[in-house]
Symmetry: C2
Subunit: 398 residues, 2 copies
Amino acid sequence: MLKISHRGEVMPASPIRKLVPFSEAAKKRGTHVYHLNIGQPDIETPKQCLDAVKHYDMKVLEYSHSAGNESYRKKLVEYYAKNNIDVTPADIIVTTGGSEAILFGFMACLDAGDEVIIPEPFYANYNGFAIQADVNVVPISSDIETGFALPPIEDFEKAITSKTKAIVVCNPNNPTGYLYSAEEMEILKQIVIKHNLFLFADEAYREFCYSGKHVSAMHLKGAEQHVVLMDTISKRYSACGGRIGAFITKNKEVLNAAMKFAQARLSPPFYAQILGEAAVDLPDNYFDTTKAEYKLRRDTIVNRLNAMPGVFCPNVGGAFYAMARLPIDNCDRFCQWLLEDFTHEGATVMLAPGTGFYSTEGLGKNEVRLAYVLNVDSLNKAMDCLEAALKLYPGKTN
Amino acid sequence: MLKISHRGEVMPASPIRKLVPFSEAAKKRGTHVYHLNIGQPDIETPKQCLDAVKHYDMKVLEYSHSAGNESYRKKLVEYYAKNNIDVTPADIIVTTGGSEAILFGFMACLDAGDEVIIPEPFYANYNGFAIQADVNVVPISSDIETGFALPPIEDFEKAITSKTKAIVVCNPNNPTGYLYSAEEMEILKQIVIKHNLFLFADEAYREFCYSGKHVSAMHLKGAEQHVVLMDTISKRYSACGGRIGAFITKNKEVLNAAMKFAQARLSPPFYAQILGEAAVDLPDNYFDTTKAEYKLRRDTIVNRLNAMPGVFCPNVGGAFYAMARLPIDNCDRFCQWLLEDFTHEGATVMLAPGTGFYSTEGLGKNEVRLAYVLNVDSLNKAMDCLEAALKLYPGKTN
């Protein structure tokens, strides 16, 4: 018998995808499903950006440069400068989404058997890229009681071995919404310098900070050779389908290695580079409206959750996610039950089970991630569903 | 000191890219450079396809399904049916270019240390994907004297070890332009069945066959569970920058494994799926014009090459490449010399050194790949350059 690869076997299926058949069945039964399960924003993509693509004239849809169109990389320099991040076009490789930037980082910096430390809960797809790169993810747990703050430095020290080569920090965090403070970023800087590690910084949600200021890993003076920024325009401009991200580092050796992986796949997608280039020219107050909207949603969801008996949701500093602790036995069972066995006024809510974001077996069983990607009215209705569900769910724990 | 990964070190830089600085310098000196070095067609992308993107209305540029838009996969079924390839939407994962389809194939079917047999010369980027997947490429040499026909079955048998898990066939071939016959495809089928191997079929140039009929690996009855098709719209519709390809197999286990890698990177680019969907509705005679143009170019280039003393170029069955043997000491030196030290009537020609397409050290030293992606007039001028150059090159061998 022909066999698939071992990595093909151990590769995790998306923890969210598993529930899709149940959500589809619910919809077929006529149930309205409020999707709080994925980070697909409902915010409109800026018209200027969509129009830039519509009005772009070309005869031949050619490969772009493997590092991305030069005109786009130049524009990105402007964008980063506005965020006090000092880069040149030569520091940037335009990638196919943030996903490819993560893969390039793992491939260029880590070898088979190397270890990468990631505070958990973490973005589930880091696991997938780690398996492709044959790298071991070493989780250190952050705690819902502290709002998922950076774990204490001793936890990092304990986790570091001779095989540790990098730390991943996602800031503001998906799935927790936690915004790392300047002090926490400074701690990370000291760890990576002391132990000679790479710091992979996933800053997809940079603009969406509600309580405090974003400190980029690129701001960490003295750590320039350690930091690899993995960025994307997906959430920033609600352009997820464009698949445009960026791999950025001041470390020339790392950039040159990543560039070889970029050359092998020839080029990033052309169209959305045009969109991304136009996005840099959006008015400086562009994010104000989006941010205000997300903040309102955050307040809605956090307040509603904490008003439910037995539910705890720490306030969220950024991104558009929240992790909540629910009075339930098993979040996978609960999320499936919501889709299979429950309706409230003809509707239900789809959530992402917390377990999918933890690497340590057994953690996150009573947690769920909520993406507040619906308007306040829908969010309230989704919270009505959740509130009603928690009264009925047979696996309720208190 | 922070060190990049070993794979980042051994990852080959693009063999073509190495010459780019010399070509840029030549252009700065005012020399016209005829680019026969890369497979970027000059053929216009069909207007209907570009218009489909321009006229597509959306409010939010959302993620598509991880396997690609369902409407596009349904359209692809029609496209494949026209090529007597019987697939369903469920057999297809839309990928980010053919590149990602190759990577998914290697990741889903092969483990670290596994071996994949590839007749050389071969598309250089297979090496890059093999390094990412930590897989060993085992070359078996095809011979310019036979026009780069499939190596004899004994050569495959000799190369097969307990670690061999797959064979890659690129048909029509890049870089040789060789079109495998029905008999050769049948031999490959027997080998993969007998030795229980996967057959990875790269058919990017399916439409461009000039002497004979294309036999797809998907036509091989009885090998359905072995075959993985790695496809792309890049060359077909001159849409290289769109980055849309497809991973197709009847083997459900392989498809499910590849799907997990597809989920990790979320989705393929949205825009060019619209373009690809429109392309399926092009009139059935769409390829006639393009094919006639390429055939004319092929005839031009093959005739011109074989008329030069000491040059041999086998006639080419498909794609838009030819490998020629030149009377030179070293193709890398020659290609660089063409850009650095030579002009003919203010122009020179950029070629891809043959060595970059061989895995066996020392092979291809007197060969070059020519991509006939310029019109006949430019091709003739490029051939004038080459002819003049061969009279002057200090490393001429006869």
